[in-house]
């Protein structure tokens, strides 16, 4: 009995001593629940360069974007290296939910209207829950509003001929603070194409990456490989879209400045219809500017 009691006393002393010696900091660490650490800011903007990135507008945040692509650098000094011409695309894009973003825009190239929705399906995370990549689904409709050409008597134009549909999976991973990489399998369906030889259904794989040079500056690159491009003898010849650029962040703005061989700024134009060839100097200087407005009241 005595033995038991002394063991009890010893144990009690040991335990209480233990409680005393425990540092408050260690106690706090114990009390802090393990957290799920989501990867944030995989890219600085909702676009890598031309194509969409995994990033979304958060709930109740509105983004106004203006993008320009100038003419080709091989215009030479007479055309001020393409600065004399430019195409514009502007859009309003809004986060309905943290996982759902919608947007609509207008591009001067082919007088195109577009609408899109981007759904976030998976978020890269570490900590209590491990997920190696972020995954989103992007879907858009583009409407070419150019006047229809004159048709032979007895034939007619259909509204549906103006439409093209884009579906993309965005698969991204932020490897570290500086390096993020994204793969973008793409399917595009165009209701009407120019000739019988043009493809209605286009399959492409996009690859994009960004590397941060400093907290507010990153270099980006993007390439879209088309599996079934138009036949080479068709005019104008099309090429895979290839772009390099930098992102510069200044508070509420992100400036993206790029060199690209495509003048289109929408998936339906720059993936199947890029006519510039880097090797011939068909390189367009361009920029995207965005401004974000918050509409949540707190």
């Amino acid at each position: 009995m005595k033995k038991i009691i002394s063991v009890c006393i010893g144990l009690t002393l040991f335990l209480s001593g233990n409680v005393f010696s425990q540092d408050l900091d260690a106690l706090l660490n114990e009390e802090t629940k393990p957290t799920v650490d989501f990867a944030t800011a995989t890219f600085k903007s909702t676009r890598i360069i031309n194509g969409h990135s995994i990033e979304q507008m958060k709930k109740d945040q509105l983004e106004f974007r203006i993008s320009h692509r100038f003419g080709t650098l091989n215009n030479g000094p007479y055309g001020l290296f393409g600065l004399d011409q430019s195409v514009i695309h502007f859009s309003l894009e809004y986060g309905l939910k943290d996982w759902l973003m919608v947007g609509t825009g207008r591009g001067s190239l082919n007088k195109t209207y577009d609408g899109f929705a981007k759904f976030r399906l998976l978020r890269q995370s570490s900590g209590a829950k491990f997920m190696p990549v972020s995954l989103s689904y992007f879907n858009s409709i583009e409407l070419i509003s150019l006047k229809f050409p004159e048709r032979p008597a007895g034939t007619s134009n259909y509204f549906s001929s103006r439409l093209a549909y884009v579906s993309q999976l965005l698969i991204a991973r932020k490897f570290n603070q500086n390096l993020s990489v994204q793969l973008t399998p793409t399917y595009i369906h165009r209701n009407l194409v120019k000739t019988e030889l043009d493809q209605n259904d286009i399959f492409a794989l996009g690859g994009g990456a960004r590397y941060k040079l400093s907290k507010r500056l990153s270099v980006n690159a993007e390439y879209f490989y088309t599996y079934n491009p138009n036949a080479k003898f068709l005019e104008p010849r099309t090429y895979n879209a290839c772009s390099v650029g930098v992102d510069i962040e200044t508070g509420g703005h992100v400036f993206q400045i790029m060199l690209t061989n495509s003048q289109g700024m929408r998936e339906g134009s720059f993936i199947p219809q890029t006519t510039g060839n880097w090797l011939d100097g068909d390189i367009h200087l361009g920029f995207n500017i965005s401004r974000v407005f918050a509409f949540n009241n707190k």
Partner: protein
């Protein structure tokens, strides 16, 4: 034999007292506020954890940087990415002691105290003394504090481009409702 039993009972009783010797709050409030004519910045966390040792007057806080939320999502992203570097320095910590502590402070109505300790933010540790309030309010132990810190002192660089939008000294507000630890 009886003596031993008595000691045992006393020890067990004292163990209970030790359990009462600490107070904890797992959802303490911390905010920081910067106001300039160009922009107001307010980040708030309701998930800070704090422990108060009633025996010694020691007090400790920990807050995960990612628990701070802002009205503008972009601000939150910049806070974590550009300023606090939250992946590198995930926590802000404070470990300190109440100046001139005695345990009656915990059973008195709320009154002014001073706390001296080490504030660790963005991987930089600085010893600071801050004014605070501590005591009973409606029968509950509450603590609060309002003080200023200069981000530059903690190696947080603010680029000249946004310098006009962020004040030199951030106002930090802390509020905690303490409960006995272990309950």
């Amino acid at each position: 034999m009886k003596k031993n039993l008595l000691i045992l009972i006393m020890l067990i009783a004292s163990l209970g007292a030790i359990g009462q010797g600490k107070f904890i709050s797992k959802n303490a409030f911390i905010s920081f506020y910067s106001s300039t004519p160009l922009e107001d910045i307010l980040g708030e966390s309701n998930e800070a954890v704090t422990i108060l040792n009633a025996e010694t007057g020691e007090i400790a806080f920990q807050a995960l940087m990612t628990t701070f939320h802002f009205k503008r999502a972009l601000m939150e992203e910049h806070f974590n990415e550009n300023y606090m570097e939250s992946t590198k320095f995930p926590k802000a910590k404070f470990n300190g002691k109440i100046d001139g502590y005695n345990s009656s402070m915990l059973s008195a109505p709320v009154s002014d105290i001073k706390v001296t300790g080490i504030l660790s933010v963005h991987g930089v540790e600085k010893t600071i003394t801050i004014p605070a309030k501590l005591g009973l309010e409606d029968g509950k132990l509450v603590g609060s504090s309002k003080f200023k810190v200069t981000p530059e002192n903690y190696g947080i660089k603010i680029p000249s481009l946004v310098r006009d939008k962020i004040v030199k000294e951030m106002e930090i507000t802390v509020k905690a409702n303490y409960l006995p630890f272990g309950n």
